[in-house]
Symmetry: C2
Subunit: 647 residues, 2 copies
Amino acid sequence: MLEKKLTMFPLDKIQITDNFWKGYMELVRTHVIPYQWEALNDRIQGASPSCCIQNFRRAAGLEEGGFEGMVFQDSDVYKWLEAVAYSLTWHPDEELEKTADEVIDLIAGAQQPDGYLDTYYILNGLEKRFTNLMDNHEMYCLGHMVEAAVAYYCATGKRKFLDVASGYVNCAYENLGREEGKKRGYPGHEVAEMALVALYGITGDEKHLKLAKYFIDERGQKPLYFEQERKEHGSEFYWKDSYFQYQYYQAGLPVREQKKAEGHAVRAVYLYTGMAEVASAAEDRELFEACERLWNNIVEKQMYITGAIGATAYGESFTFDYDLPNDTVYAETCAAIGLIFFARRMFEITKDSRYTDVMERALYNGVISGMSLDGTKFFYVNPLEVVPEASEKDHNKAHVKVERQKWFGCACCPPNVARLLSSIGGYAYETSEDAIYMNLFVGGDMETVLDGRENQFHVKTNYPWDGTVTVQVENAEDSTFTFALRIPGWCRKWSLEVNGQDNAFVMEKGYACIKRTFQNGDQICLKLEMPVTLVSANPRVRENIGKVAVMRGPVVYCLEEADNQDQLQQIYLKEQSEFDVKYEKNLLKGVVTLTTQGKRVSEKNWDVRTLYQPYTGKIYEEQTLKFIPYYAWSNREPGEMLVWVRI
Amino acid sequence: MLEKKLTMFPLDKIQITDNFWKGYMELVRTHVIPYQWEALNDRIQGASPSCCIQNFRRAAGLEEGGFEGMVFQDSDVYKWLEAVAYSLTWHPDEELEKTADEVIDLIAGAQQPDGYLDTYYILNGLEKRFTNLMDNHEMYCLGHMVEAAVAYYCATGKRKFLDVASGYVNCAYENLGREEGKKRGYPGHEVAEMALVALYGITGDEKHLKLAKYFIDERGQKPLYFEQERKEHGSEFYWKDSYFQYQYYQAGLPVREQKKAEGHAVRAVYLYTGMAEVASAAEDRELFEACERLWNNIVEKQMYITGAIGATAYGESFTFDYDLPNDTVYAETCAAIGLIFFARRMFEITKDSRYTDVMERALYNGVISGMSLDGTKFFYVNPLEVVPEASEKDHNKAHVKVERQKWFGCACCPPNVARLLSSIGGYAYETSEDAIYMNLFVGGDMETVLDGRENQFHVKTNYPWDGTVTVQVENAEDSTFTFALRIPGWCRKWSLEVNGQDNAFVMEKGYACIKRTFQNGDQICLKLEMPVTLVSANPRVRENIGKVAVMRGPVVYCLEEADNQDQLQQIYLKEQSEFDVKYEKNLLKGVVTLTTQGKRVSEKNWDVRTLYQPYTGKIYEEQTLKFIPYYAWSNREPGEMLVWVRI
């Protein structure tokens, strides 16, 4: 049995009140969404114009002019609409909804009679459509359109956008496939696969699932479609000098034969997410096993401790097992988000905390590091080691920015952060008919039907700074169901009580499952001990030999120059370090900092003019070290940063 | 006083018999020179054709056709002729000399009435000559022509090539300069500067020195000539996204204002060599001080322990102070050779061993690492840390080859190695009227006039494997002069005896100077103690914190996978390591190996499926480590290599 056992908690039935996450959600609602709307309409002073809305106006015949911007520019408005949709579920906003409806009208106005809807080809010549699926992102835009349309339908109940998207999907279905007269193409940048399964979940239209399944099954079959397509339009293969070749697109081999995560990291995890969705919807065990293999390869050999993935800027891609450089890393925010997408699907199928553990790791570290604490600036690249002079003067590190950038032009990560954070409740909690799973410890109030009866849950916590989580059950009638709480992989010591009883649960795949008849007022109290932990990497990770990372709970810590001076490579932790753990309310919007007595390689017996001299043993100076949460780095003055510290 | 105090020992007056170097010289003579001749004539099976000789034939009107190959293809034959010239001095070869004479006839046949001689423009349209000095290498080819012509004249006494070269120099002089009607251009790739001073040394023609001086003085003056030139031919600036901009060419600032070595490393040290030559010939102290500053910046902040320079493949360039990555390094063989050129000139002016110490460091390590022990394969890039899978799968390390490459196509390093090694005697020994300097401990027989009398010296040594050097003086008449021996900077304990007396010298700038009346049969015996030494890098070098390099005498050692298994990052040296020092006659053509008891980070408590886990302290396994000389790496099966080892 491979069908999904769990689904996201309905976003309109959860009000998040969490100290940590509510702030992020409000940033998205009050800053990111309005700012992006201005950007889509080319109203940001000093920014290169997006042209996204303009392209739709032109495609709809409302104004004259050609296509402008990146070939995938359409997707920006879809991502915006998706974030808007989620936001509307927990914060209704008539004016915003009206704006969204108008944009949807505009999009619908650009749709062609056969359903086609990509402004690049509408404006550049429809006869060329579907001729460069490898690089021109038609199916990528379709995928994001569908994701947004599904979200908007779920949020508002309005079908129009869903119908427009279905129309484009049907057009794709008529043009792509194994049947006579169709092209045997598939997306160059994946995302449509997962979107189509979501659409199928609403429409029940078998064609939607069939197209998703076709995209998955046809990918990488010989002869390679992309190779043929490229030859037809006579273009150079951009990746001809690369190691990965067509695996850049995860299209060099049939997906079932792929054993290692390869190529462009975002595309990869988007594909794997789609594979998991199709495996579940089509009950395809072989495909699921391919997902498991690829998952294992990532988390056992190619994932940063922050949950980031993508070791190199070249092709924004995976490299090879245990290759996790901290300073030339790519670690795109979108890739960590994609890993969360993948994790959620794998969890929904398996109910196994090994997936939600990774979800938590990525979320608290490699994802939210992508946004500044004031919600105005973004990292695409999330390095684990930064030296400002290297970013400036070493071309290999030119992509590693020392400060987050304002968001304009080609923007994938900011709207991805926006749509994830505004739907975070659906990742935190998942349900089945008779169970609710708490994946992430996020405070809030939920209501749902379990055992055929209305139940409400009131969750309070100060996570991730404190490991205590309480859940108050409220119901009018006693209800028999399972309340499952993830016991994090990082946690060595914990207790769980229901109404003061500590033996009211059984462990199942990392979840403490409380199966009982819940009565009004029942109280669940989970206490996770959260000592500071030094973490080692597998000794095959070259970069991290002789180093440790500092964690507390799910949070990875780092050293910043602002607290510890520069030349951070000289710093050593001591064996048996003791840390002073302190919540600093006024620092970085409130964080727990960790202070310890460390040491630093002395420069005392070094002349500034001496580059090499005979080794005279190890000479250190004492230094007090202060660690801050990794996600909060680069919110003060620019400077060096380091996650993996010598010991 | 800045004039050169010393000059190279005349190559025809020295017969090198050294165990270590003679083999290299013979490899060059018997393998490299003949192989390159075949390459120049496009007779290497499977190699992309050089077209070099073909271009000259076409330019001389001997056959039809256009220019083929790189824009600087002419320089290949000049470098070959230079190596041939040196080789003829110590190994006369009528047939080879005849071939060289015929090539010179061919070159002369291509010369234009006004002396111009660059086949690229002769074949592509002379009206375009001198319009892209920045990138099209006309002055680079001229420089190499002059260097070769000077060498060939010194070797054979034949003037023809010298006259041809002078003709092209005169043409350049008529076209470039500050005078009315001339272009204010200078070489994009430096080398002409040093060549012109050498030519001046033979011709005494003031124009030759004046042109060299003009090239140096005009470089980087505002408005930038290269910027204007580029605008005139309307081309994009290739380095527009770079940090270094016109400093790629060392042309962003007047040379006297340059304080850090920047841009393309080979060009940089070629320029600095030319600056030192001009400073000396023109007695220009300000220019010499600029040379000193640039020298200091390199050796105090930007030089690898192997004497290699150039930290990044991007622009084959310097990056910034203390930035010395071992695995993404460029460290081009030619750049280390260029550093030797620069060192020799600075030494000739100063008689200071700080320059010849670096010469020795580069020669025994970063230069000869560039050639395989059988003389058939070459490295352009000389990394200090190699992982084969990274070279294959990480684009940042794609330039780092695990095996030396056969030499064809665009080849700069192999002929540069050839010309250096075949003239090594001139670097080892330098003379003035009343002194002889032994810079490198190279065995051989020399004769020279000192104190107006003929003297012969017979030098015997097994250096670098053994620190004993004996010199036997042979003369018919007693002669009063100074015999100066460099006491290497790496050496802590040594003795020097003349006929058994140990107080017969004074120390001057790192040289033990024996000033006396030498009689026939006098015997000098230098004993340098050569213990194995662990060397640290300045703690500002991020890559080398917590690591040491192993040296013995001038030789840098490394670990190879062949002796020590893979995952070399896991290896640690112990404090107070004791080394077993052993000459292995049959290993790598005879090398001293170093064996010690080290340790390795244990993988025992690591599951292959675990990427991160709580730190459990340091757990090692004992391992016997075997070090080989760095220069000899990659002469067995391909595998990992590491210079900087953890301790």
